[in-house]
Assembly symmetry: C2
Homo-oligomer: 155 residues x 2
């Protein structure tokens, strides 16, 4: 399981790096069913001028419309702890497990996921945190504008 | 307020009817700030082969990227009670009020919205329910497949 998790988290990190290359926020995700990647995605807020395409949302959208019995076998790998929107989507589709790269930069309602029966694993991957921290350092105003949109203040 | 609510709910119903014309599920939404519609949208699961474009999500996406202080002044009008995904999005952006056309066909986590400070009004609009009920009657298999995706069984 640990080896598998590292392999799929590496794919989520690749997605985060794709976003960075496009001028976007480096957060990525992959959806895995029965050991196979069925969807990949990354944060597209900046590059697509989107309000809803977080990495997890883009990934779930790109996976296409699966059956409910398939979602229930899926693990979502994401480089950052899922926010309230993405957590709501995980719960809507009854995704059974979520593997999180890091939850230091921002943390979503992980306890609510767990309380609803989702298996949550936090891997504490240094690369996930460093990628995002570097982006924040290089794009302070952009990042603060993002936080303002969701009611966070850095003051 | 009641007159205003009826006016904006009528716009959400127009969106639901647009979806129906496109062969989609008749659920619509509008986002209103300071008495002005800033976004409109409708369910696009079927017509766009989407997993995430519920009426509310499409509406919030179409409103574009507002400031946080703007979202906090917004009311979301939706013909059907928002699901877990849409409720998570409402909470993420701190949308201050949600007006629901009907919550008989399906009901989302309205109590969780309220518990997080969102003002929730259910209008019990017969037209919202009849539009969706007629769609379900005419598209039984499609509707059951939709419910299966989110783990609901009609058995």
């Amino acid at each position: 399981m640990v080896l598998q998790d590292s392999k799929f988290m590496a794919e989520a990190i690749k997605e985060a790096k794709k976003s960075l290359k496009e001028g976007g926020i480096p957060i990525g995700a992959v959806l895995v069913k029965d050991g196979t990647i069925v969807g990949k995605g990354h944060n597209r807020l900046i590059q697509n001028d989107s309000t809803i395409l977080h990495g997890e949302m883009d990934c779930i959208e790109n996976a296409g419309r699966l059956k409910g019995t398939d979602y229930q076998k899926c693990t979502l790998y994401t480089t950052l702890s899922p926010c309230t929107m993405c957590s709501g989507t995980i719960l809507l589709y009854n995704i059974f497990r979520v593997v999180i790269g890091e939850n230091t930069t921002l943390i979503g309602p992980e306890k609510i996921l767990e309380g609803n029966g989702v298996e949550v694993t936090v891997m504490h991957v240094v690369e996930c945190r460093e990628l995002l921290e570097k982006f924040i350092e290089d794009n302070k105003e952009t990042w603060e504008a993002e936080l303002e949109k969701v009611g966070f203040s850095t003051d």
